[in-house]
Structure formats: structure tokens, C-alpha cells
Subunit: 267 residues, 3 copies
């Protein structure tokens, strides 16, 4: 599958998938720009009255719970149900699960509301959904433990029956049968808000051109490589953030092949 | 009128008009920064209780329907009514009209709620308001057809009795009696979210110093020239976006005169 | 106290305080990135159901009234009450107080809802809270008058019994017993939206490692020095904005000691 990542990227750019985002207020601009930079077409819409119309046009739905309230929760649940009935891919980002009971509960409820295709979070968030809570501290998580991350990724695929991506210094992605580890990326990503949400949105875009496991691995690899190039240009967070969009736009097959550090693990 | 564009720009900078925005959650930061960069003063306020107070201070109202819900719709309608009664210029951006029935209906309702001064959208959006729907795909529109864009601009001026700007590779602006075409701008604007909304907000600022047709032509010319300079500096979307604010701040009469490509068309 | 500013900065970076923001829709991304750049950990959460859980984890609460509506007002009041009961530091930014009665009233109500620790605003906003209204024009205030700013800062400390920071060309910070003046900063800060809100958020972060007066002086000094370095790199608003995050990340004791222009005033 790893050989196909460059192909998925060029497929994405040909198809320009429409990605419908119901996401948090902090990162809306960030995820829209990341999707545009990579070559997808973002739309943000949360009014219940227009969810069905918009989802008909969309190639994927991305739901991110970073800034909830009761209206948005209703809208997210409805969107998941509609997209599920339409058999559109759905990516869920349980931002801050474990930090508050509301977030954990809402994420779990969304996982039951329809057929979520990919779940992406950091270790603390995904562990919290498995009931290993109490580790999340705000939204940028605690110490990263590679073994635990692998275990949590695989465990979550079984519990929720979907593809899981646990992102961190190494990203682990599994569908319960296969497990991939991605070493690309730089720690400065943690000093820019919304880079996790970007990852989730990009997974949504790739879901329009690849099956879910490949989509998640492709999106995280592309983002990781783009981040490395951005960091080479600018090792400070403001400038790095700007260059990240530049490199999501500039990244191509050659760069991907040269830089990608992804491997399949046995488990 | 074209000779006066540099004068309107310097008038804007002297007057520092207060532009009251009720806009979408994705681009609030973008439009505020574009207004500040050009020399205007942005304010965002949507609580119904404060609309009247804020509109008393404002020199123009900009309404953008990019992320609706029922509360925001009520607030937009009320703001249009109040601003209309106060005879303040009102600019409407029907983001995504045609993509969902809600957006088309809300835009049409706002057009009836008061005296909208300028309507700005892409071809798909404006066509949808004329009942030529079904062409909008998300918010970054389909193929651009110059003839159709001209026709739609002129037709919409008649239907809604206001100034219409249909933006794209060439921008067409008409008040039903005159028609202008602007060739400035670069296609990379389509790879940064909110540049259309920026255009709308800048039209609002120019409405404080020029009559509506001139305001729309001036704003779109200034943005187009600034975009060309930004692109010369940085041909990638993240860096281009940053330089766009730089050039909205730096643009002056000489640069405008050297670069503007605007002409009056006969129709 | 001034000698301790570098120490507070390094304490902040060791502690990585979690700052809970209930802030406006325009600047959420900006304040999150400023907090990450300096070394703090931001979280945005406004659902009433999760305020208590989140505040338990947080080291400070920052409330900013820049884009109100009735739901957000309720959430802000509840958060102030909870944080107050937990004896967490609370920083209030009364954005646009004086521009509309709603904003003035909400700011005054929040000042009564709990023990606000620091109040930061521009001259027009703080004066409006003292009943000297009518001077605010939108959110970027009128002519700056240094004497008046000092007087207003000191007067507000007495009226509301807290630390007050009145920011402008010179920032004045007082707790009613001491008064500090900071000359750092550049006027271009006024051409980027959210830099005042950044100041408020940074005060929140410093409140986790210093008592309130020192926290306010430290945050504004750090931001002012970072802004001067950003301006040296890039004297235009888009690029300056980006570099501002870079310098919040890069600023260290040596740079602070070399550049800070803070003095204690007698009053």
C-alpha cells in the first residue's frame, strides 16, 4: 500500500474532493486552508437545515469536537447519521476527550450515531475513549509512550470497528488487521494550534480517493513530510505554520518518495 | 471613474471607516486583518441587543452567510433592517448560495429585508439567486464562463436593483447602467480561504468613501493588484496569503496606476 | 519586580500552564497560537456542561467579550463564578466596552460575578467601565492620552479592586499601590487583529507563575519586545504578524534584558 501514497495524492488533486467540515471555532480557517493547499475543496456548514443538501455534494464528512455546545452537538449527531445513511466516509476528531466528561461522552455518542470510518486523536484522547481516561491535559497531550500508543490504536480498532490513527512523535494507524508507523513530522507541529485538526481534515480528503486505512496513512505521511520541509525553511512557529501550507501545496511524488518514513509493523 | 480609484483609496485611509461585519466563522480573522491592512477599522458584532448601537457608529455593514444557523440568520436580518433604516451602505456575500437551499433562501430573504447596496459572489452563487441554481459546488465555484458572468451580473442588477460584482478570473461589476471588467488578480487567490470574503469586506470599506459602483470596482482592483504583488513575492498559498496583507497595506496610487487593468464595457 | 520578568518567562516555559479561554470568534486562533508560542498550553471551551471539569485542570481563565451573544454571556458568567470559587486567576478583556451598551454592561456584570484578577483594555474601554464612556470607536481606540491613561488605570484599580492594564503607545499597569509604564511595542500591532487579545491571554499565562501585577507587567513587556523584533524583521502587517509568533517563541532572558523599557512611576 505504501507505494500507492503518491498515486493517492495525485488522485486527490485530480478529483478535488469536497470535504464537509463540522469543526471547532479555533481551527476552521486552518483546516480550510490545509484542504485548499493540498488540492481539496473545503466547506463548513453546521445548520441542521442544510446538512442533507451539503452532504449530498460532499465526498467526505469531518467532525471535530474541539469547541462544543448543545447546538453543535445536535448538528454533529445529525450529520453523522445522514452521512452514514449516504455511505460517505466520516472522520472523527475527539479533541480533548478525557479532559472533560462532556467531550468523552460526545465522542462516544458520535461513534454510536453512525458508521465512523476513521478516528484520529492523540494518545490521551483515544485512551480516554477506551476508558483509560485521566491522562489528557487540555488538548496537547502528555508524554508519548510508543508502546502504549500502538496498543491503544489496535485496541480502539477492535472496540469501535474502524480505522484508528493515534498521532504523536510516531503516528500509529491500524484497521485491526494491519498496523503502520509513520516517523515523519517535527515536534514544532505541537506549537501551532490546529495541526492535529489539519491531519484529521486531510484524512477526510484522502478518504475520497482511497480506502480508509490507506487514506489515513497517506494523509499523515503527506502532512509529516510537508512539516519537515516547512521546518527546514523556518524553525519558528509563525513562519513554520505559513510554510506548512506552502509545502502541502508543493509536495509531489518525488518529495514523498524521498522523505516518507512509513513502515508496516507486525502485531 | 477609473481615474478616481487612487483617490478613493487615499480617502479610505484618511477616513478609517468603521466596517461592521456579520460574517462567517471561517474568515472572521481574515476579513478583520484585510480591513486593518487597507486602513479601515473592522468590528464584528452579531448579538441582536447591540446591533443598533454598533450600526450607529459604523460606516458600512457587511453580511456574509458562509456559516449560518438560525441565531445568525435572525441577527443578519435584523442588522440589514436597521442599517437600511439608517441608510448605511450594506454589502451582501451569499457564500454557497446554490449549494444548499438554505443558503439560497437566506440570501434572497436578506435581499428583501432591506436596501442592500452591493451584492458580491462568484458566478455560481449569483446565478443561483437568479434561479439558475445547481451550478455551485461548495464555495469555490465551477468553471468560469466570461460571457455568462457578464450576463448574470447585469441580470442580477435588474432583478435586485443594486450593484452586483461577479468575481472570478475576470471580475464583472455593474449597476445596470455601466459594466466594468477587472483583469487583476491571480488564480492562487482560490487556494486561500476567505479571499472572496475579503473582497466583500473591502467593498464595504470603500462604500464609506465612494458611491457603490465605484466602491466595488475600487475594492476589487486594489485586492487584485495587491494579490499580483503578493504572488510576485511568494507563489505558494501560505506565504502568498501573508504577503496579501502586506500589499493591502503597501499599495499606493503609483502602484495602482501602474498595474490596474480595468475597463468599462458596452452592453 | 522588573528583575524578575526573565525568571517568570522561564518559569512559564517550565510549567506550561493550561490557560482556559472563553474568547471571541475573531481571535481564537490568534490567542491559541500566541499561548503555544510563548510555551503555555491553550484550551478553548465554552459549553456550560464542561466548564467545571476544564477549570479544574486550568491554571488560569481568560474571558474576552469581543463577540457576544446570550449563550456566550451565560457561559462567561458561569466560568467566572466557578474559577472564582476555585481561586484560579481570571483575566478579563472588555473588548469594545463603550462602543455598545451591551458590552459595557456585560463587562461590568462579569466584574461583579467573581474575583477578576486582572482587567486589560485600551483607554476607551477601561474609561467606559468607569462611566467615562462615549470614547470608544469600534475596538481600536481613539487618540491616546498618556495622562488620562495613567489616571484611568489607577482609578479602575480602586473601583474594581484588581490589577488594571491600560494598553496603548505606552502601557500602564497598576494594582492601586504601584504603577508601571511600558514603552515597548510598535504601532503596527494596531494593524493586526487580536494583538490586544493576545496580550490578555499572555497575562493569563503569566498569572500561573507570578502574582497578578507582575504577571501583567511581564506579559506586556514580553509581547512588546517580541513585537519590536518582529517589526525589525518585517515592517508590514501580514509578515509582522507571523514573526510575532516566532519572537514569542524565540524571546529569552538576554533579549528581554537588552530591550525592555519598563519603569515604576510614582503617583
Amino acid at each position: 500500500m505504501l507505494d500507492l501514497i503518491p498515486k493517492y495524492l495525485s488522485d486527490l488533486r485530480s478529483k478535488k474532493p469536497l470535504v464537509h467540515n463540522i469543526t471547532n471555532l479555533v481551527v476552521m480557517n486552518v483546516t480550510a486552508n490545509a484542504l485548499l493547499a493540498i488540492g481539496a475543496s473545503p466547506v463548513m456548514a453546521h445548520a441542521e437545515e442544510e446538512l442533507e443538501d451539503m452532504l449530498k455534494l460532499a465526498n467526505a464528512l469531518v467532525v471535530n469536537i474541539g469547541t462544543l455546545n448543545s447546538h453543535w452537538i445536535k448538528s454533529m449527531e445529525k450529520a453523522v447519521k445522514i452521512a452514514s445513511a449516504m455511505e460517505k466516509p466520516i472522520v472523527l476528531d475527539p479533541v480533548g476527550a478525557g479532559a472533560t466528561r462532556l467531550r468523552t461522552q460526545v465522542a462516544l455518542r458520535l461513534l454510536e450515531a453512525g458508521d465512523i470510518t476513521v478516528l484520529r486523536g492523540n494518545l490521551g484522547e483515544i485512551a480516554a475513549l477506551l476508558g483509560e481516561g485521566g491522562k489528557t491535559r487540555g488538548v496537547d497531550t502528555a508524554d508519548y509512550k510508543e508502546d502504549l500508543a500502538q496498543m491503544v490504536a489496535v485496541e480502539a480498532t477492535k472496540r469501535f470497528n474502524l480505522v484508528v490513527a493515534v498521532t504523536g512523535a510516531t503516528d500509529f494507524i491500524s484497521d485491526g488487521k494491519e498496523l503502520y508507523a509513520i516517523k515523519n513530522g517535527v515536534s514544532l507541529l505541537g506549537r501551532v494550534t490546529g495541526t492535529g485538526c489539519m491531519a484529521t481534515a486531510l484524512i477526510g480528503a484522502f478518504c475520497a480517493v482511497a480506502e480508509p486505512l490507506s487514506a489515513a496513512v497517506s494523509a499523515l505521511t503527506v502532512l509529516g513530510v510537508a512539516a519537515e520541509k516547512a521546518y527546514e525553511d523556518a524553525p519558528y512557529p509563525g513562519s513554520f505554520h505559513v510554510r506548512l501550507y506552502d509545502w502541502l501545496y508543493r509536495i509531489d511524488s518525488d518529495l514523498l518518495k524521498e522523505k516518507m518514513e512509513v513502515k508496516a509493523l507486525v502485531f
